[in-house]
């Protein structure tokens, strides 16, 4: 198991390097630059700025400078906002974004798994139909529309929760954004869990477990849930990364102080430093998530372990 984990970590290194390179060059291929504005800067100022950020060097040299800094843990400065850097941005916005996404993730995963199991055990009965309806709503309605509907209904009409904004430490302000984020995630997980659970409940080994007189509760808990989780777990990694990126939009809609606001502005301004730094941060998170998923996978499915 340890060797397997180590091999997976090592194999993530070239993947990370390739991803960084691709991000770097794609961003540079996009037209425009950080200093293109409505009003052109004086040529001398522009030249100085470009020299300061090494933008006057050949692209390949810039690339190696960037990699070198990255290896030293420096994600780079903002090229648009004076004195601002990626590390600053992460320090300010990331804890919030992470809290939002993780809260949604934990709630959605718990609800999704439970709902999927209940639906599978009650296949084609009313709990199953209720779930199908909830899933449809969650998957069909895009998050910006869902956000607006929830704001209107629960924020304005009923006034149960604030429609937007943020007061430090107030969980009431998180209810609507977390709901918007969590719903589609819970919907996908419950569908996966339902399908996989129904399949597992029809397997020969569940029949064997029943023939042993273990009782339906133990049959489900010990024999069915663990193998049924396999396809769900492989979705959880990408799922969390959807939530992290999805939260950027939700933060904008609800006016929450996460990374979202900065990232969107930076992308529009071609702020190479911020965009690249944030992208790389997300890339590392996704790689780490996939790694965790693989390890959990190995625990769930013993056949994977020794390969």
């Amino acid at each position: 198991m340890l060797g397997y984990a180590l091999r997976r970590v090592l194999s993530a290194i070239p993947i990370a390097l390739i991803a960084v390179s691709v991000c770097f060059f794609i961003l540079r291929l996009a037209p425009g630059g950080p200093f293109d504005g409505e009003r052109a800067l004086p040529p001398l100022v522009l030249a100085n700025l470009r020299a300061h950020y090494s933008l006057d060097q050949p692209l390949v040299v810039q690339y190696f400078i960037y990699i070198w800094r990255l290896l030293h843990g420096d994600l780079g400065p903002s090229m648009v906002i004076e004195g601002f850097s990626v590390s600053r941005l992460i320090a300010i916005g990331f804890p919030f974004t992470l809290t939002l996404a993780l809260t949604a993730f934990v709630i959605a995963t718990a609800i999704g798994l439970l709902a999927g199991m209940v639906a599978a055990v009650n296949q084609n009965k009313w709990p199953d139909y209720v779930l199908v309806l909830a899933v449809m709503i969650g998957v069909i309605i895009p998050n910006f529309l869902m956000a607006a509907l929830l704001q209107l209904w629960f924020g304005v009409h009923l006034g149960w929760f604030p429609a937007g904004g943020w007061v430090t430490g107030s969980w009431m302000h998180l209810v609507l954004p977390v709901t918007v984020l969590a719903w589609p995630h819970a919907a996908r997980i419950s569908r996966l869990m339902r399908g996989s659970m129904i399949e597992i409940l029809g397997t020969n080994y569940v029949r064997t477990a029943r023939s042993k007189g273990l009782g339906e509760r133990l049959v489900l808990a010990r024999h069915a849930i663990k193998p049924a989780l396999i396809p769900v777990v492989s979705y959880l990694g990408p799922g969390l990364s959807y939530l992290l990126t999805g939260s950027l939009a939700v933060e904008q809609i609800f006016g929450l102080p996460g990374i979202g606001k900065y990232f969107v502005t930076a992308a529009l301004n071609r702020d190479y430093g911020i965009v690249l730094g944030t992208t790389i941060l997300y890339m590392f998170i996704i790689l780490a998530l996939n790694l965790i998923v693989d390890l959990v996978y190995a625990w769930l499915d013993p056949k994977v372990r020794y390969r």
Binding site: T208, G213, L214, P302
Partner: protein, 328 residues
């Protein structure tokens, strides 16, 4: 005189399919005595597996079972699943056809064995594992302590079937139902399994029901056999009687479609035609379209299962000599 452990009366299994009812098993009757080996023989779709799955409460959701299956003085048919769990795995255990898929791939062998003892005998986990290892040794698994730690995919097919046997016998059940236990295994392993079945059921006094289509298996170990066709028993009796003097044309056909190493025929003689669809059984005797001995009565009336000599029953109107030449 040995004791009766299971009495099955008028057992019928129906499935709701495409809005209609399909009868998989009709009016099955038999008794099983302590320590005996009963072979249930028939082609695919003859209802032999469904009959026993229904007794174990393992029918698919669209299945329905009627009749009685008396284990002592309790009727297993129609029993609430929760109550049934007190008997399943303890007094009556089942082994399935495919050892590759019948063990849970995500649980260690140890867990899958010991849980039976924890549930039915109230053993604590440690004691149950020790007993499980002992049973693994009993079924001929080398290094049982080490193997008990393995996951099913780390074991060969034969080993897995041994694990299944060990699992079924942990509580020394009164009845063991083995559904095609050797079909998925190599021929060499098959013979070992049969020896194992025979010696273990003798040791524990367990009655064995062997569901199979392989007459070689039957000849090897069974005491009595029941031949099934189209969901009904068509002939019952001692194995030797049925093998040397079959009284139902279907039994005769089965015997002649089995390859025999002593007389090496150029080709096998299968029974002509196909097994009937349970949705559209022929009128009269279900076997009549494939029967070389049929006469008018067979097309109009269904022959009941009736006594035919000592300890034998058959469901056939034909009373003359069954000679094989007529079949071929």
């Amino acid at each position: 005189m040995s004791n009766t452990v299971l009495t099955v009366e008028d057992l019928s299994v129906t499935f709701a399919l495409h809005g209609s009812e399909v009868h998989a098993v009709r009016d099955m009757n038999f008794t099983l005595t302590e320590g005996e080996i009963l072979a249930v023989v028939g082609e695919s779709g003859s209802g032999k597996s469904q009959a026993f799955l229904s007794i174990m409460g393992l029918l698919a959701k669209n299945g329905r079972v009627t009749g009685n299956a008396m284990l002592g003085d309790v009727n297993l048919v129609g029993m609430d699943k929760v109550k049934l769990d007190a008997y399943r795995g303890k007094d009556i255990a089942m082994i399935f056809q495919d050892p590759m898929t019948s063990l849970n791939p995500s649980l260690r062998v140890r867990t899958q064995l010991s849980e039976v003892l924890v549930k039915h005998r109230g053993f604590d986990k440690e004691k149950a594992v020790l007993a499980a290892i002992e049973m693994l040794e009993r079924v001929g698994i080398p290094e049982p302590a080490k193997r008990s730690n393995a996951f099913p995919h780390e074991l060969s097919g034969g080993m897995r079937q041994r694990v299944m046997i060990a699992m079924a016998l942990l509580c020394q059940p009164k009845i063991l139902i083995a559904d095609e236990p050797t079909t998925a295994l190599d021929v060499t392993v098959q013979a070992q399994m049969l020896d194992l079945f025979k010696s273990l059921t003798e040791d524990f006094g367990t009655a064995l029901v062997l569901i199979t289509h392989d007459l070689g298996v039957v000849a090897g170990i069974a005491d009595r056999m029941m031949v099934m066709y189209g969901g009904r028993a068509v002939e019952k009796g001692k194995v030797d009687d049925l093998f040397y003097d079959p009284k139902h044309p279907y039994t005769l056909g089965l015997l002649h479609s089995t390859p025999h190493i002593a007389h090496r025929a150029a080709r096998l003689d299968p029974i002509q035609g196909l097994p009937p669809s349970l949705e559209h059984l022929p009128k009269g005797c279900s076997f009549n379209p494939r029967c070389a001995f049929r006469f008018e009565r067979c097309l109009a009336e269904r022959p009941p299962l009736a006594p035919a000599g000592e300890g034998r029953e058959k469901a056939c109107f034909y009373e003359g000599e069954l000679n094989y030449e007529k079949v071929a």
